[in-house]
Symmetry: C2
């Protein structure tokens, strides 16, 4: 095994449709960078989506935590580094670093992935698939995804899963969960603060046409806990959103 | 002026989050390719967004027609060619060809762009900005965008313009208009047919928080006419959607 294969590095250029009204990369689009980088790296190591397909298996992301100090801006070229930190039986723990062209860290992410059987949805024991030889040894200085509490909050709003929301498995796309969560905040909120840390725990899949309710609560420390539920009341994901310090910027006066 | 500068050619690779449940590139994502290619080409000719910004101007797409024979699929590398066909006073008429790596045409698009003053929203006379030297001479074998009739239909559904919908001008992003239009069709419809031709006429801008209604009617020839209106009843865009022949595919049985 080549020494540097354990850490994959992929270039991205932030495109105009990927930025918000402040010209900063949005979290759902950063999540697409994360998912693509994970895919490229798994491919290069021989356990990518095409490799596991032959065994009727598929990778699903189970947890994700993203922490950003500085969001990349429209037109900026960044590098995404990714590596498997270790394997905990059913989960591959994959980390990410987001760097400027000069190597300055903009942020980090941690994720947990399961390899499931497409028919019975059961996870595979990953210790047979991923050897510790390929573990990357590099710091990821952000907290792991902790347990996210239930919200007990009323319905904040609802949405129906549409054509553009579903991926090639006919399920709500992983980055679209995040888009719906982020869209429960106003432009006014983003005009004052960035999301400093975002966590999501994917619990179950959603199909086309399902009506999903968003439940949202702010705790005493200004931390938002969100929960998405389907019509049977089952939780489909939980999320924790922590905004950073207020950085009032006159440039973003909301019209 | 170099001979080949009048036709720009840009490579794209279809990424997993850009495809639908059939693993085909979606129209909103193809529109992103169109908008990016137009931007790259205008930059290379000296009248890109950064060039016109110094005069407090911005490019806005006014009309778009896309016709696709074969949608590119997940992982496929395609080339987008773009050129200015001519200038009609207030509009730059820009065409596109979508090609496989081997140069086989997958489809074409036609668009009309205005260069507006950011303060008073008035269009500029483009004959002073774009010289006929740079016109590209290449066939674009699809019909021009015709006049789209009003629908007179009742409200089909509504949506509110959210954080992820707005671009860096705080307006509903051009490809998000298309996403909302396409999302008014079911997976079942797409499991049987592709959109063969799509037309949109952008009429006015939408801001964050606006509630938009979608009006939709199918005519006797199976052509869909859609209209988006804001809360004052003003039309913000009109669209015509023509599906192709039924190509039933057992692979896409909707779960």
């Amino acid at each position: 095994m080549e020494g540097n294969k354990s850490i994959g590095e992929y270039p991205f250029k932030v495109l105009p449709f990927e930025v918000d009204f402040r010209e900063k990369l949005t979290l759902p689009h950063l999540t697409n960078y994360i998912l693509n980088s994970a895919g490229y790296h798994a491919d290069s190591l021989g356990f990518g989506i095409e490799n596991v397909k032959v065994n009727n298996q598929s990778w699903v992301v189970s947890r994700l935590a993203i922490e950003i100090n500085e969001y990349p801006k429209n037109g900026e070229k960044i590098k995404v580094q990714t590596w498997v930190e270790n394997v905990l039986r059913m989960f591959s723990m994959r980390n990410f670093a987001f760097l400027t062209q000069d190597g300055k860290p903009l942020g980090y992410a941690r994720s947990a992935w399961a390899l499931i059987d497409k028919t019975n949805r059961r996870p595979t024991d990953l210790s047979k698939i991923i050897s510790s030889d390929i573990f990357g040894n590099q710091p990821c200085p952000i907290a792991k995804v902790g347990k996210i509490p239930a919200t007990e909050a009323d319905v904040f709003e609802t949405f129906t899963v549409k054509y553009s929301d579903v991926d090639f498995n006919q399920h709500l796309n992983s980055s679209k969960y995040i888009e719906h969560i982020i869209d429960s905040f106003t432009l006014y909120k983003f005009s004052k603060r960035d999301i400093k840390r975002f966590e999501i725990e994917y619990i179950s899949e959603c199909l086309f046409g399902e009506k999903i309710s968003i439940h949202k609560k702010e705790d005493e420390n200004g931390i938002f806990i969100l929960e998405l539920k389907n019509e049977t009341g089952a939780t489909i994901c939980k999320s924790k959103v922590i905004f950073g310090e207020q950085t009032l910027n006159e440039e973003y006066i909301i019209k």
